[in-house]
């Protein structure tokens, strides 16, 4: 073993890193049901449920996935509209009026 290899053992080699990356993606691609193809459906149904309660802008939906060896995380961020009162106050402010106390 050369002196260079000795120092390198502290860190993962690029080949080890490659193997790990492959094991993770392939584990996700192989098994039936683990395919991420259900995501469009999942997103659609999720949005349908949320739409029953609030009006949302479909452009403001962000879905993030981070695949890991032991587990993956799916993060769904949906920007909700401002509460009705705040929206009304903003409209009044824009029109030049303040919000009068009741």
């Amino acid at each position: 073993m050369s002196i260079f290899n000795f120092f390198r053992t502290q860190k993962k080699t690029v080949a080890e890193e490659a193997k790990e990356r492959l094991q993770i993606v392939l584990a996700h691609e192989r098994g039936a049901g683990s395919s991420p193809d259900y995501l469009p459906m999942l997103q659609k149904e999720l949005l349908d449920v949320i739409k029953k309660y609030v009006r949302i802008d479909e452009d403001k939906v962000e879905v993030k996935l981070e695949r890991g060896g032991d587990f993956s995380t799916l993060e769904v961020n949906i920007e909700l509209p401002p509460p009705a009162v705040a929206a009304q106050r903003r409209r009044q402010a824009a029109a030049g009026g303040g919000v009068r106390p009741a």
């Binding site: 490659a18 993606v25 469009p40 659609k44 962000e62």
Partner: protein, 271 residues
């Protein structure tokens, strides 16, 4: 005005994906908002080369089919500002690429980006045709090897007859030759075609010569475009090629064997 660049070759395995990743990263490093799109439906690999394989949620085909919004499928590179990846589907096939669908997505990308790099699959079938159809520029990736040069010639014919520019009688697609996996020592020995030979046969302007380099494999192992390995000769060759693409005059390098002294050889082994 956004420019569409196709990385194409006819022949498989010559370095299209490596070059797409490097070129897109190089343009983004120069401050251009750039997206690299994987057209190799069913054989997704660009995500691995760009190192974003764990973050793919939606893909190009989902966007074409209206199953996801474009900005949900775009993956922002974590290292380089202005760089985005549009991965392709691993489960469908090339028939999922309709011309109208591709056009719709490219038109939407054109509103956001300066450069759109299309990583073509090998062959001259549907996937490759879709990747080149809307191109303004074609970077023809060629290895100094007979079958690769022949296939490049064939793809030049396809560009001249089947691209949108050809069909609509517009200015032809601008062609650039990128000669990759060049081994100056084997050229010196007469074992490999010279740059000049390839240029003489294909007769299109030379964008760059990328030497055969162990840095390419190293970079792909860790999911980093090789152009970010600025110490490597392949990385530098790609940086030069990007500069030339942007109109700068940069002398060609890496075409002659490196002189190797003993000290040089020892140092190089550790690099």
């Amino acid at each position: 005005m956004a420019k569409v660049i196709v990385m194409t070759s006819g022949k498989g395995g010559v370095g299209k994906t490596t070059s797409s990743a490097a070129f897109a990263t190089g343009l983004a490093l120069r401050g251009f908002k750039t997206v690299v799109v994987d057209f190799d439906v069913g054989l997704r690999n660009l995500d691995l080369i760009m190192g974003c394989e764990r973050r793919v949620v939606f893909d190009f085909i989902n966007v074409i089919n209206g199953e996801a919004k474009l900005n949900q499928a775009l993956i922002k590179d974590k290292r380089v500002e202005n760089l985005f990846i549009l991965p392709t589907s691993q489960t469908r096939d090339k028939d999922a690429l309709s011309r109208d669908g591709v056009e719709k997505v490219l038109d939407e990308l054109k509103k956001e980006f300066d450069y759109i790099i299309c990583d073509s699959p090998a062959g001259i079938e549907k996937g490759a045709l879709m990747a080149l159809y809307f191109a303004d520029h074609a970077i023809v990736v060629t290895n100094p090897e007979v079958s690769s040069v022949r296939d490049s010639d064939r793809i030049l014919g396809v560009l001249a007859s089947k691209s949108r520019r050809a069909e609509k009688n517009q200015e032809p697609v601008q062609e650039h030759l990128l000669l990759t996996r060049y081994d100056p020592e084997r050229v010196e020995r007469g074992d490999m075609l010279k740059v000049e030979d390839v240029l003489e046969i294909l007769a299109i302007p030379l964008l760059g010569v990328v030497p055969e380099s162990p840095a390419v494999l190293r970079a792909s192992n860790v999911g980093m475009p090789v152009i970010l390995d600025e110490k490597s000769n392949a990385g530098q060759a790609y940086l030069d090629a990007v500069a030339r693409f942007l109109g700068e005059t940069v002398e060609h390098r890496f075409m002659k064997p490196e002189k190797k002294g003993l000290l040089d050889r020892l140092l190089r082994r550790t690099a």
